[in-house]
Amino acid sequence: MPNEIDRQLIARLAANRTSRRRFIGGSAAAAAALVLGPSFLAACGSDSSSQDAGGGETDESTLRVSNWPLYMADGFIAAFQAATGLTVDYKEDFNDNEQWFAKVKEPLSRKHDIGADLVIPTEFMGARLRELGWLNEISDAGVPNRKNLRPDLIDSPVDPGRKYLAPYMSGMVGIAYNKAATGREIRSIDDLWDPEFRGRVSLFSDAQDGLGMIMLSQGNNPEDPKMPAVQQAIDLVAEQKEKGQIRRFTGNDYADDLAAGNIAIAQAYSGDIVQLQADNPDLEFVVPEAGGTSFLDTMVIPYTTRNQKGAEAWINYIYDRPNYAKLVVYTQFVPVLSDMTDELAKLDPEVANNPLINPSQETLDNIYTWPALTDEQTQEINTAYAAVTGG
């Protein structure tokens, strides 16, 4: 047993250092993109895929999965291979939604293979792919375990009937604080603007994750994102930035500053904080009183897949509760399947009782989600917020 705990601690520490949405790798890719320019990137995309025959080819013995780093449990793939007889070519090469999209949009628009039969983007990106007609439907026959999904996830505004986007993991977007630095409990967004924490607050640079909870604190709702309401939140952020209240706009790189005490309060993802708490018990995650938002990563099958059946078998395997529990114990995010408490308790009672992994219905009721935005809306909001976050 002591060995067991040690191993988990090590896994958590490892996960801390390079959490899944972490920014560092992205910066290097950004540097490359800066130097080379978009048309060059686009040219690279089409060159590298032009040899692939694309759509028509199939290979039912191998399944190529492309996932975020540290988003998989040890031994899980081996167990899946043993259960199905498929060979899995598993790559952790999904680092950033927008950068991934910039890379694959050229080959996908020509229906050329992208080297993956199943990909796990965040829901808004999956929705964009579906809109563009680049996804295959996930058949009911192939995934009978779909019935295990959380009731609130069985249908989706961006994917009516859940035909294309199969949830993988979800998490809450709220605020995290360092008790040692704040010296008091933090409950609402108004605490972020307390002059006492001037220069020690960080916000997300991502528009939806950053603005959702601020809209809620102003009595608006991101589920109805009319531009004046969004703009009102952006204006508040701009005002606080001018005052010097906001130290930085971050991706996932808020975590180090928060743990080090440079930042007292940060907008944060629940799973990151669960991982960091193992190391720093002063950290707390709360859903703000007026409400928080959530993110959802989804498994999708690109229409260039070479193994539709294998991809469906993978989703079905993950939607089996005992299998899924192994994943959750490792990733520390919120399960997308219902009634997971028993299965989680079998593996690790601590995880089953953690309200950030297994949130109460009351908490879930205070979580709001952005609806499907049109491309124009997304662009308008991104541009307006980018002007405030610094470029």
Binding site: E98, F101, G199, K241, R247, T383, G391
Partner: protein, 291 residues
């Protein structure tokens, strides 16, 4: 006999071109072509769907006007930071290069090795290390706070000084090495001669050493200033919401906002401003050769 001579002459006329051909091809593919593509993008208009836009080349100089007016603040800030960092590099590097070149004796190679050593560690890690050194609860901040030397924000990390410090630290090697090379080349007999002519140390420095070190100063300044203006890593990790540099803006325009024409126009604005600055600077220092 005549025929042989002609063909040799012909061959020798073609040979130099053949020899530079690989470099020319390389430049054409990896420099000229991307640059032309970037120039075309910067003059294009975007239409059609938001995420699969069609870029139409239209001589649209409006992108440049938009890029310059919207982001003037970040452009000016970048030039200010880079200039400050260059001056700091020069002030720190000159005495060091001087000591290595004239006073280090048998320790010369050892000191040079030590100067280069930190640069075996990747740029990113070195920058992140500064986050730890400058952190709010760290000893640097408490020591400076005790003597009342902290900037108005009451911290070091996430201030303009941290960004300028990061730029200075990360690029200083490109100042030290050219300075060292040009100081090392100075013939010691010239210094002896100036002393024989009753020149004071200060006068020897301003009349002999400094003019002869000018090519190193110029090369070093350019090697520090140019990458520092476009840098976005230091502002990203050591800066705050108020210290955004133009590199951060270009990155965001390309990857988040995906306004490729404005992003390309910004790159060109930056490039031309740097070029103009470099020309003025070279003219002012009046040095013909760079090293």
């Amino acid at each position: 006999m005549a025929g042989v001579a002609t063909s040799t002459r012909q061959r020798s006329r073609i040979a130099p071109y053949l020899m530079i051909l690989p470099a020319l091809v390389y430049l054409a593919i990896f420099f000229v072509w991307p640059l032309v593509a970037l120039a075309r993008t910067s003059l294009s208009t975007m239409s059609g769907s938001v995420f699969l836009p069609t870029l139409t080349f239209a001589w649209d100089f409006g992108n440049y006007a938009e890029a310059f007016t919207t982001y003037r603040e970040q452009i000016l800030r970048s030039f200010g930071y880079a200039a400050t960092a260059t001056v700091l590099c020069l002030l720190l590097a000159f005495p060091l290069a001087y000591v290595i070149a004239f006073k280090a004796g048998r320790f010369k190679n050892l000191i040079l090795g030590l100067v280069i050593l930190p640069f075996f560690v990747t740029f990113l890690i070195r920058t992140i290390a500064w986050k730890i050194i400058l952190s709010d609860d760290g000893w640097v901040v408490s020591a400076l706070g005790a003597v009342g030397l902290l900037p108005s924000e009451g911290r070091l990390l996430s201030t303009s000084w941290a960004v300028i410090g990061g730029l200075t630290y990360n690029w200083i090697i490109f100042m030290i090495l050219p300075l060292y090379v040009s100081l090392e080349k100075i013939d010691p007999r010239l210094l002896e001669a100036s002393r024989d002519l009753y020149s004071s140390n200060a006068r020897s420095f301003t009349k002999v050493i400094l003019p002869l070190a000018m090519p190193g100063v110029l090369a070093g300044s350019l090697l520090v200033f140019i990458p520092a203006v476009g840098d976005f890593i230091n502002a990203d990790y050591l800066g705050s919401a108020q210290t955004t540099m133009i590199g951060n803006v270009i990155q965001k325009q390309f990857l988040v906002v995906k306004d490729y024409p404005v992003a390309s126009a910004l790159s060109f604005v930056l490039m031309s401003l740097i070029l103009a600055g470099v020309l003025l600077y070279t003219r002012a220092l009046g040095t013909e050769d760079l090293v």
